[in-house]
């Protein structure tokens, strides 16, 4: 028998979130202790049951930290998200989705 090799990520976006967090931690934006503290709070909302510490919780935690540190405000993340959704809708299936494909894109 051989050791099973579990899949690290269930979807590419999970891998991207993981890589962003590791990269920013190594750039010194936060320590791992700060990260686990914030993640621990994120998955324990005051108004609901405890959640999994999965990559969607990582994403929410990362957005909170970036907004607090003034690195990326929630507003600019929302604007850029909308731009990517428009870009996707304008990108023929099978081609890579680029921000430039957003009909409202201005360099």
């Amino acid at each position: 028998m051989s050791v099973p090799s579990p899949k690290a990520f269930a979807a590419p976006w999970e891998a991207q979130v993981f890589a962003l967090v590791v990269s920013l931690q190594e750039a010194g934006l936060f320590t791992w202790a700060e990260w686990t503290d914030r993640l621990g709070r994120e998955i324990r909302p005051a108004d609901g049951p405890e959640r999994a510490a999965d990559y969607s919780a990582w994403l929410a935690t990362l957005e909170t930290i970036l907004a607090e540190r003034g690195v990326a405000a929630a507003e600019s993340v929302a604007v850029r998200t909308e731009a990517f959704l428009r870009a996707a809708a304008a990108t023929p299936h099978g081609q890579s989705i680029r921000l430039e494909n957003d009909p409202l894109y201005r360099p």
Partner: protein, 210 residues
């Protein structure tokens, strides 16, 4: 995202809201110089293809065949693991706890999902979920039963809570009848779950039937 559906894609591409958010963050952070796409790709490749429980299995097998190594591993795990060329982020302060006939060890992170990445890779979904986080502490024997692991009533179960600073790994007991086994053959008996404490060496976890 399956591709076996028949609806028309000619008008555009699918991007879920969460995928769009992640792309937005990555593009903003790249523009501001906080991250480098090539570094991100390298990180993903590393954790998808290189880092995983096969590393921890090598540590366990070495400890089974080399009593001096076992002593070093249990007294100061991080440098002992580094002797095998294993280490790095998520494993800065490792503690290895040995199973014995008297004590079975089980690892959890009650806060979130702290896990010894260099030896075990990234944690499985159940490790990060509230039921395991809560029940590993209050009902470890019940949790083990769900994993198909039965520990004798006379064996004490000790639960270790990993944190960002200290991350635990279990050194399971060497299975019987493996006297002639090579280190490599021994390593092949060591599953991820055996090193978390939710499995035993040579046992096939219920989530991965043979």
């Amino acid at each position: 995202m399956s591709h076996d559906h028949a609806h028309d894609h000619s008008h555009g591409s699918d991007l879920s809201p969460v995928e769009a958010r992640v792309r937005a963050l990555e593009s903003l952070l790249t523009e501001k110089g906080y991250v480098d796409p090539a570094t991100l790709d390298a990180l993903v490749e590393l954790y998808e293809t290189k880092v995983g429980p096969h590393a921890g299995a090598r540590v366990v097998a070495r400890a089974w065949v080399d009593p001096n190594y076992r002593t070093r591993l249990l007294s100061d795990a991080t440098p002992a693991i580094a002797e095998l060329g294993i280490g790095g982020r998520g494993g800065e302060h490792m503690v290895v706890v040995a199973n014995t006939p008297e004590t079975h060890n089980l690892v959890v992170c009650t806060l979130c999902s702290c896990y010894p990445w260099p030896v075990l890779g990234l944690p499985p979904v159940w490790y990060k979920a509230p039921p395991y986080r809560a029940r590993a502490v209050i009902d470890p024997r019940g949790v083990l039963a769900e994993f198909g692991v039965t520990i004798p009533e006379t064996t004490r179960i000790t639960v270790w809570d990993s944190t960002a600073e200290t991350r635990y790994m279990v050194l399971p007991m060497r299975p019987a009848n493996t006297e002639g086994f090579s280190e490599e053959a021994l390593a092949a008996l060591v599953s991820r779950d055996a090193m978390i404490g939710t499995g035993l060496p040579g046992a096939i976890p219920p989530e991965m039937p043979a």
